[in-house]
């Protein structure tokens, strides 16, 4: 059986987590991008991070990789295999990025350098982390292209990014993320720019390859359909706050936070003919310090107290959430 986090909340009580985030807050300029985030990823686990634009999901990924701009104010702790990442030296961060943690970004065309061949880029990435000869590195790169199911891998080492289709380019980005055998892959909207049929192939590929290697995956997406099909556990972000986390089936069948519920209702589903159920209002961008429930202005059940302070976290066997109204009714 796979390793499971030791509690239903997804937060490990032992130090077995691969990635362990505690009380992370990120302020960028006037914007409170992430507030009080705690979250764990166990070895071999697929975790989905869902949220709208501005919910703090990509900022969290960047914090884990030390990729935030230098003026960002970061507090809390991010540990990778027990080692603190926040405040690590540039040399150590370079070893983590691409070494322990592989990255797949949304825009494969921007992630690849247009003036170097695919082979050059993969060789460079591998040699940055492993002491191997160029010849060995090229062989390894060709094997990886084969693993991500690029036809004629040896020939494609000499291709330039523009000569490949969008789906093929995303495969190359996945190959470069995998090149130093990372334990964790962070994929930030990896299929958003792709057509559905290509999206299907790329998702299957990420799933297969990472499962075979036993790597953990954090899949950042706005698409709940993608999450439902791939992830063991889901964290829902809103306004920089982790508002709910549960295993995937529980989250879809017994959502508790009003935002999760509304999001699931607003989802267009094939074969269901009904009115579109919108969430009224607009997504927030939290200015200065978060001092209330960020969803309160759009919430159907919000009480006065929801606007007084950041809601506390409620935990039980199903998971955890940050809705004051739901949490108080349950206790």
């Amino acid at each position: 059986m796979q390793t499971r986090p030791s509690t239903a909340t997804g937060l490990s009580t032992t130090s077995s987590a691969l990635l362990s985030i505690r009380d992370l807050s990120v302020q960028i300029g006037p914007v409170a991008a992430v507030t009080g985030l705690s979250m764990d990823v166990a070895p071999g686990e697929f975790v989905g991070v869902v949220g709208e634009s501005g919910s703090g999901k990509s900022v969290t990924a960047r914090a884990v990789l030390g990729l935030l701009p230098s003026h960002a104010k970061v507090t809390g702790s991010v540990k990778l295999e027990g080692e603190e990442v926040l405040g690590a030296s540039p040399q150590r961060l370079r070893r983590i990025r691409g070494g322990k943690v592989g990255l797949v970004f949304q825009d494969a065309l921007a992630a690849l350098d247009p003036v170097y061949t695919i082979g050059d880029q993969l060789v460079e990435a591998l040699q940055a982390h492993r002491d191997v000869s160029r010849k060995e590195a090229r062989q390894r790169a060709a094997d990886l292209l084969d693993e991500v199911r690029i036809p004629k891998p040896v020939e494609h080492l000499d291709s330039y990014p523009h000569q490949l289709s969008g789906g093929m380019r995303q495969r190359v980005v996945i190959a470069s993320a995998l090149i130093a055998d990372p334990d964790l892959i962070i994929a930030d909207e990896p299929t958003t720019a792709l057509d559905v049929t290509v999206q299907r192939q790329v998702l299957d590929l990420i799933g297969d390859v990472c499962a075979r290697r036993g790597a953990s995956v954090v899949l950042i997406t706005h698409d709940l359909g993608v999450v439902a099909e791939t992830c063991d556990r889901v964290a829902v972000f809103y306004g920089g706050l982790l508002v709910e986390e549960a295993d995937t089936v529980t989250l879809f069948e017994k959502p508790r936070h009003p935002y999760t519920k509304a999001l699931l209702r607003s989802l267009p589903r094939l074969g269901v003919q009904a009115q579109f159920e919108a969430i009224p209002g607009n997504p927030v961008q939290v200015r200065n310090l978060l001092a209330s429930c960020p969803f309160a202005p759009r919430c159907e059940v919000a009480a006065d107290e929801c606007r007084d302070d950041v809601p506390p976290e409620f935990r039980d066997d199903l998971g955890r959430h940050r809705c004051l109204v739901v949490g108080r009714a349950a206790s």
């Binding site: 796979q2 697929f46 634009s53 057509d195 499962a211 439902a228 089936v249 009904a274 969430i279």
Partner: protein, 280 residues
């Protein structure tokens, strides 16, 4: 019911040659495409990138010229008209674009953006324009003070409302909606689709809806055509098309849509992992 838009044997080829090293091969973007749209209904064109759906939309809006074929609005061929008649045709067919961040001039106030079409088509006086802008903004669910503000002060969903108000300002018959919600957050998509539904009911509008999201098209359209490689491969009501797709490509497309139900996973990843451990 009567037919508002008739597209016949539309064909468009893009010549190669924009490359650094001389002429590339020609691309047939739209190949003998024909369809009709009934007045007051929504016709969906679905397909993946490169299928020709946006090229078709651009030809219908006269943003691109076709190589051959015709686009009849009632009985007037939009591709044949010139001068004053072309201006009138352009008024009747308005477009709402995909990216509300790129399609609004950031240096113009919302009031001027919405009134621009009325100025070009000389529909009424400046005072009438102001009154109409207020009416349009309200109709599209925007705050009353929006006219005096700039696009950057608005969220993506609100900007798309501005784009819709702008298109409606000249009282068109046909709205060409080119992926109008695909740049928006899920919770906002539904707001905009509901707004478009409401406006269609109130104003008797006809929509040509270009999209790649099959679940949205199913609920939003009265008739759907699936495009692939510049051709319409299948066409019908969403009920029939989605339940019993005849063309292989339609089936592939439907199969690829992620289902937001974790119990209906084709093959759960964790299961896959267990299988592999058993087999090794």
């Amino acid at each position: 019911m009567n037919t508002l838009l008739t597209v016949r044997d539309l064909r468009k080829t893009f010549r190669g040659g924009r490359g650094l090293l001389g002429k590339g091969p020609a691309t047939v973007a739209v190949n003998d495409v024909s369809f009709e749209v009934q007045r007051g209904t929504t016709f969906g064109l679905v397909g993946e990138s490169g299928s020709g759906k946006s090229t078709t939309a651009r030809i219908v809006s006269r943003l691109l010229d076709a190589d051959s074929g015709s686009v009849l609005l009632e009985d007037r061929d939009l591709l044949a008209v010139r001068g004053r008649q072309l201006l009138e045709a352009r008024r009747k067919v308005q477009m709402v674009f995909q990216d509300p961040f790129a399609s609004l001039n950031p240096r113009w106030k919302v009031g001027s953006l919405v009134a621009e079409g009325m100025r070009i088509h000389r529909l009424g006086s400046a005072a009438e324009h102001r009154a109409r802008v207020t009416e349009l903004l309200e109709q599209c669910g925007l705050p009353a003070d929006a006219a005096g503000r700039y696009p950057h002060e608005f969220s993506g969903g609100q900007r798309q409302r501005i784009g819709i108000a702008r298109a409606l300002a000249v009282q068109p018959d046909l709205l060409v909606l080119d992926e109008p919600v695909s740049a928006l957050d899920v919770s906002i998509q539904a707001q905009i689709l509901n707004l478009l539904n409401k406006l269609q009911e109130q104003l008797g509008l006809t929509y040509l809806f270009i999209a790649h999201d099959l679940a949205i098209v199913e609920r939003f359209c009265d008739e759907v055509a699936v495009m692939c490689n510049g051709e319409i491969v299948e066409r019908g009501s969403p009920e029939v098309l989605y339940k019993a797709p005849k063309h292989e490509y339609t089936r592939a497309l439907l199969h690829a849509v992620p289902v937001p139900d974790p119990r209906r996973r084709r093959q759960p990843i964790s299961q896959r992992r267990v299988d592999e451990q058993v087999s090794t």
